[in-house]
């Protein structure tokens, strides 16, 4: 089995660059006074196996471009997956027609020309795997069979998937900035089901990396998936109480996503965040710092320029507990009378400072409370900071895990949760764009039976 399409890689960049130039030229010709264009092409293979058999083999290839153009201070956007001259003409015309009907907005427009990124360091993000569908299936089967072998209580599977993607992206604007890069992303995930006394539990484990060789061993991923799943058997609710809560690293990263949303420019200028006007305030304990490091070679969140062409740069958001920077794009910065922080499109690799305790040490330190390993629902009100979500995990007493817990909620206010972080663990999850260890929070309301 071969993929019949030519592999997408850096060789495609010159043609994409040319396409960006053509689209920019077309926009100018049709009457745009400024514009920005993003073009991408991506290719991938996804295979899923279940109970020792192949379930799906999917070949992906996506391409397309998006344009945002301005007529003075009026803005319009359009995008398409179609290619060719006609598609370019029609898409530009569609964006222009919208701009002509949009309102004059003095804050809108491209980022300032003098701030465009000048040096674009190579961040080493492209490491194609070149794995064939047969080899991918074999690895996925190996992973799943390790999960089945790990524990007899594993009775069923919900799919083990190996995904590999590679792509190219070029961004250019009418200030003359043009930049692009090729990147890759590979992942292996395993979802298993365990059963006892007529009750089933499901859990998973996965790894993701830009470099295939650095993925965890498939058998290890399967074993961890099995272990996590079996350990949930017999889960039950606990009584309603105020207790300490320990967020496992993969969920703690969600708390810091909530923090980022609360300091993001679009929520600040709309006054839809409880952190409006909080710059300079002490939001976290004094020992805690949060910083962005966008230029780490091979990291999942790395980028040398943001989605407006501004050079990304390393900076703290929280320094010794104090909010020292908002998260701003050009538009939101102008609305707030501030400067962009080169975060249009989001944050690039966020690091949370931590102590030396591993998760076991934090469990001992907590003494009694809930270790949360799953959260459900989106019960977060950023306007007020109110937080209420479904949870599952493990009950801790005498500094040790006692039994699995499910069908409970945890609730509080984000501003209190941030302030009352007792410790961040050294058990940092390196699989995402937010790198944090387990987070221990002094007290939240746990609702159960």
């Amino acid at each position: 089995m071969n993929q019949s399409v030519e592999a997408v890689g850096p060789a495609a960049l010159p043609a994409l660059r040319e396409q960006v130039e053509r689209i920019l030229a077309e926009a100018r010709q049709q009457g745009a006074t400024a514009c920005e264009v993003s073009v991408s092409v991506e290719q991938g293979l996804s295979t899923t196996v279940r109970k020792g058999e192949v379930e799906t083999v999917e070949f992906n290839r996506d391409e397309g471009f998006g344009i945002t153009l301005y007529v003075g201070h009026r803005k319009g956007s359009a995008s398409t997956s179609a290619t060719g001259e006609n598609a370019i003409r029609e898409t530009v015309a569609a964006a222009l027609a919208i701009a002509q009907h949009a309102s004059e907005d003095e804050y809108s427009g491209l980022a300032d020309p003098e701030k465009m990124a000048k040096d674009l360091p190579d961040l080493d993000l492209f490491h194609p795997w070149g794995i064939t569908p047969d080899e991918a299936i074999e690895k996925a089967l190996l992973c799943e069979s390790a999960a089945f072998a790990a524990n007899p209580k594993i009775t069923n599977a919900d799919g083990t998937s190996l995904n590999t993607h590679q792509g190219c992206r070029i961004y250019g604007n009418s200030h003359g900035f043009i930049g692009g890069y090729a990147s890759s992303r590979h992942s292996l995930s395993c979802v298993m089901i365990a059963e006892s006394n007529g009750h089933m539990q499901r859990d998973y484990f996965y790894d993701v990396n830009r470099v295939a060789e650095e993925l965890m061993d498939p058998a290890y991923i399967g074993q961890r998936a099995a272990e996590r799943t079996v350990s949930r058997l017999g889960a039950r609710p606990v009584p309603t109480a105020q207790v300490p809560i320990l967020f496992a690293p993969e969920l703690a990263s969600g708390l810091f996503s909530n923090f980022l949303a609360a300091i993001s420019g679009s929520n600040l200028y709309r006054k839809t965040t409880f952190l409006e006007g909080a710059l300079g305030q002490q939001l976290f304990p004094e020992w805690l710092s949060i910083d962005e490091r966008p230029l780490i070679p091979r990291a999942l969140g790395s980028a040398s320029f943001d989605s407006e062409g501004l050079a990304t740069y390393a900076k703290p958001f929280i320094d010794k507990g104090e909010l020292v920077s908002y998260l701003l794009s050009t538009y939101s910065a102008r609305k707030l009378g501030m400067q962009s922080t080169a975060n249009a499109g989001g944050v690039h690799n966020l690091f949370i400072s931590h102590g030396s305790d591993d998760q076991a040490a934090l469990i001992r330190r907590m003494g009694k409370g809930l270790l949360v390993t799953e959260l459900m629902g989106q019960g977060i009100n950023l306007v007020t900071g109110d937080y209420s979500r479904g949870a599952a995990g493990y009950w801790v007493e005498n500094g040790e895990i006692q039994f699995p817990v499910q069908e409970v909620t945890i609730a509080g206010r984000l501003q209190d949760m941030f302030r009352n972080i007792v410790a961040v663990g050294a058990d940092v999850d390196r699989r995402g764009g937010i790198r944090t260890g387990s987070v221990l929070i002094e007290s939240m309301t746990l609702a159960g039976r």
């Binding site: 089995m1 993929q3 019949s4 279940r50 058999e53 379930e55 083999v57 999917e58 070949f59 992906n60 290839r61 996506d62 397309g64 319009g76 956007s77 359009a78 995008s79 398409t80 997956s81 290619t83 598609a87 029609e90 898409t91 569609a94 919208i98 002509q100 009907h101 949009a102 309102s103 004059e104 907005d105 809108s108 069923n156 919900d158 089901i193 089933m200 499901r202 309603t240 709309r270 006054k271 839809t272 459900m376 629902g377 019960g379 009100n381 007020t384 209420s388 979500r389 479904g390 599952a392 499910q406 069908e407 409970v408 909620t409 609730a411 206010r413 309301t445 609702a447 159960g448 039976r449």
Partner: protein
């Protein structure tokens, strides 16, 4: 040939030099020996959105997409490839990739096409064209001005309008040949209010498989705005929600999110074939109180979740899932119906040509009961009344599900009293449904705002229910 097949095939196939008569040869190539089923899904989509904020129309977007998804199945295996080019070359390449799941090199059998002519549930005109751009902008501005005039505590108003026009053509080796043209429009109002330094948000909207004129009729656009403002003002007065397990009354309409999460997902055919659902193997067993009859109905004209035909060419249908508390049916696509040896139910849906179809809900609701809603509230001594919900989520294997309240009140001594802050409620699907002790006579469907996510794919859905009472469910507030 029907009007739909003619116009859709002209639109999708002819520009790339194809016709309906070109498709059997591609299916022939795709459906080799060892392949049980094969299909082609052609789709084009245009969509737009307009956004007003700070009193001005800040931005609009337009998106065009088209392509073809090519699928071959052998037993439980599926091979899939897609292309954004609709040409014979692209089809052949995709077919070759998709059929690589079977080792045999022979070509297979293709049935003569049978044209599916379902009942058409929505108009086929482009819904984006019924208003000019100037009229769309005007509508947003008018609603903004009228909304701001409703209350001096309003700080922010965000109004949005969006529409999609989709054309699809399905051809399969079993002879299925079907076309559909699907409109979908949406209007939304979001407000922020402030009083004595406290801010709250309110949100309301609606839509369906119709066109923008829908929002101009019966004062709909403005009724969404009034509702958003009312809800925001109620929340300004909200106190902490209780924490613990207590009786909960859910209002009619959008609260049907409960059914979507607690019941719907767990009854999708794929999970039951795999034995991964808390409802697996429980057909004809009691899974809810006898007051509960729950259906999935893809046949309601103009509804957001309706499908004249699903994305595999099966006509949308009215399917009883639970009848008087007894589990009666799962929702099926072709693959799972074939493997489970049951009939397909018109629930094979996909986000786009670049995604594989799966069993998905359409409009899921509970039939009306006999209780007066006032009598249901009066029956609760101490509990929670949820007038409006946010979203939800479910773990179909353990059966645990959650939903979040947007507008809720305490019930004290049979009376609705103080509003409480948004909270997440959690329960176990099969268990909670047996706790339904009263069902109202006031069935209503939601306004047409639901989007369901499953395995990374989003599809529009509807929900509905009468007012109902759950005797005990866990409420995740911070209060006593």
């Amino acid at each position: 040939m029907s009007q739909y097949l003619t116009s859709v095939s002209q639109h999708l196939l002819n520009p790339g030099g194809l016709e309906i008569d070109s498709l059997p040869a591609v299916l022939h190539q795709l459906a080799g020996a060892g392949i049980d089923a094969a299909d082609l899904y052609f789709q084009s989509m245009i969509s737009e959105s307009w956004l007003l904020e700070d009193g001005i129309v800040k931005e609009g977007g337009f998106h065009m997409d088209q392509g073809v998804g090519v699928r071959a199945q052998s037993g439980e295996k599926t091979g899939f490839a897609y292309s954004n080019a609709i040409t014979l070359d692209a089809l052949s390449q995709a077919a070759q990739a998709a059929r690589s799941i079977s080792r045999s090199g022979e070509n297979g059998k293709v049935q003569v096409f049978t044209r599916i002519e379902p009942t058409r549930l929505y108009p086929n005109e482009n819904p984006l064209d019924v208003l000019s751009r100037a009229e769309k902008v005007e509508l947003l501005k008018n609603i903004d001005v009228a909304t701001r005039a409703l209350d001096p505590r309003i700080q922010q108003v965000t109004v949005s309008l969006s529409g999609v026009w989709e054309q699809v053509l399905v051809a399969a080796n079993d002879g299925t040949l079907a076309a559909d043209v699907r409109p979908l429009v949406r209007f939304n109002v979001n407000v922020v209010v402030e009083q004595n330094g406290r801010r709250e948000r309110g949100n309301n909207g609606g839509g369906g498989r119709t066109d923008y004129r829908y929002f101009l009729r019966e004062d709909r656009a403005m009724s969404y705005a009034r509702e958003a403002v009312r809800q925001a003002l109620v929340n300004l007065e909200a106190v902490a929600a209780p924490a613990g397990t207590l009786p909960v009354v859910l209002g009619s309409g959008w609260s049907g999110v409960l059914l979507h999460e607690a019941v719907g997902h767990g009854l999708e055919g794929d999970f039951n074939r795999k034995g991964s659902s808390a409802y697996s193997g429980r057909m004809n067993e009691r899974v809810a109180s006898s007051l509960c009859t729950i259906v999935d109905d893809g046949t309601i004209p103009d509804r957001r979740g309706s499908v004249s035909v699903d994305d595999e060419g099966t006509p949308g249908a009215y399917n009883v899932l639970i009848e008087n508390g007894i589990l009666k049916g799962y929702m099926q696509d072709k693959l799972n119906a074939r493997l489970m040896g049951v009939a397909r139910t018109g629930n094979g849906r996909r986000e786009s040509y670049a995604h594989l179809p799966m069993p998905r809900m359409t409009n899921t609701y509970m039939l009306a009961g006999e209780s007066d809603p006032a009598e249901i509230i009066a029956s609760v001594e101490h509990g929670l009344y949820c007038a409006s919900l946010g979203g939800g989520q479910v773990d179909i294997t353990s059966g645990k599900f959650v939903f979040t309240t947007n507008e809720a009140y305490l019930i004290e001594n049979g009376k609705v009293t103080r509003p409480v802050k948004g909270a997440t409620l959690i329960g176990n699907g099969p268990e909670v449904m047996t706790q339904v002790s009263m069902v109202g006579n006031d069935l209503s469907l939601d306004n047409g705002v639901g989007t369901c996510g499953k395995e990374g794919q989003s599809v529009p859905v509807g929900v509905g229910q009468p007012t109902l009472k759950i005797d005990a469910i866990t409420v995740g507030g911070t209060g006593a």
